[in-house]
Symmetry: C2
Subunit: 200 residues, 2 copies
DNA sequence: GACTTTATATACCGTTCGGTATAGAGTTAA
DNA sequence: TTAACTCTATACCGAACGGTATATAAAGTC
């Protein structure tokens, strides 16, 4: 037969939609195969388990996201204008997150839902490594900045979490239709708030 | 018999611990009753369903949290010192969150896990009203501030989400043992960052 | 002591869970 | 023509799910 790629991809897409709307545990394999209009053995032919489907989803999308962030998170100090060299890189990183979230809203809902999952949950086990990569990229970025901007030194971890927290807050608002736009202007607003506080 | 309060409370405590560690969907009624060393009919005698147990948990703890925040979120403008009157109230609110999270770490893990739950998930339905109350209290606080501090005006919603996002980021770090303290100093640090950015 | 209420367990309900043994249909290659 | 391989469905597995009918034991009430 030749529906291989059709079904294989379709299973992933249907699973993505369901996991995004209800969460990993709340979705049954039966729901996925119903949604994909196939039967269970077909799903198990392509993926070895429910967890396998979820895992494949995470690999597929996190790979994109992480490589996107990797590209824009390298910090090159500009000694003549300290202030001006942190600002644009943070805007770039933020914009990358925004763009990715807008293009993959179903997946990013999963990212958000999993953000504060307890470490003892099964979902945490599956996603921790991708989450770690992302976190590590930002951490390295802030470490580079800390070497130049000594007032940031020793706060790198805190800054990483805060920054990611604010970015995800903005994205969550967008995905919940609480705010309608998530463009470059919004990214600049976010970074400005992050750097200079609410009196921005 | 007389074990009423014993068992009734014990069920809640065991459920709290399990829900906190694994998430609502991943916990079965059987697990709860095993943990509480009772049988299923006993649980169903006190609570009408699994959802009923969860709901009761949320009521119990959210009532405490919300009344705590209610007490400290009233803004009284101090026209002689605009700057000094926003700072202390935000510190108080933050400290209240910190105190509550430290005293009820198992419950606050649930709050965090549910923070970005999709609206179509069953858990969201159960908790949305309590979450809303909390959100509304902060929103009103920022509206009061916006009336005096015109540079905050029309950003109240954004500020509410950002502030809560940062507070929860700090608490999440603490509950994941990434930072060891969550005291008044930390609250001041948070508020300072919120108001003046990362160059604090 | 008889009756009611409260609180608990045994044993079970139908349904759904994640997962699979098996067979057959369509395609490819000899 | 046949053999092998790829893909999908029927039909099923044992286990666990959320939930309950029923019995009963203890305690309070008359």
């Amino acid at each position: 037969m030749n529906n291989l790629t059709d079904n294989k991809e379709n299973i992933l897409n249907c699973a993505l939609s369901l996991f995004s709307k209800k969460g990993y545990e709340a979705v049954s394999v039966q729901e996925i195969v119903n949604s994909a209009k196939i039967t269970k053995p077909t799903l198990y032919y392509y993926y070895k388990s429910k967890e396998g489907v979820y895992s494949k989803l995470l690999i597929k999308y996190y790979t994109q996201l992480n490589s996107l962030i990797e590209k824009v998170s390298h910090y090159n100090a500009n000694p003549d204008s300290y202030f001006e060299d942190i600002y644009p890189i943070l805007v770039n990183v933020t914009t990358s997150y925004f763009t990715f979230a807008k293009e993959n809203p179903l997946f990013y809902r999963i990212v958000l839902s999993n953000q504060y999952m307890p470490k003892s949950s099964s979902v945490y086990e599956i996603m921790k490594k991708y989450h770690y990569i992302q976190h590590d990229l930002l951490l390295k970025m802030f470490y580079s900045m800390g070497e130049i901007h000594t007032n940031l030194k020793n706060k790198e971890k805190q800054l990483t979490f805060s920054f990611l927290g604010i970015v995800n807050t903005y994205i969550a608002l967008f995905l919940s239709d609480e705010v309608s736009t998530l463009n470059c202007e919004k990214a600049k607003e976010l970074v400005h708030q992050f750097m200079h506080g609410i009196y921005a």
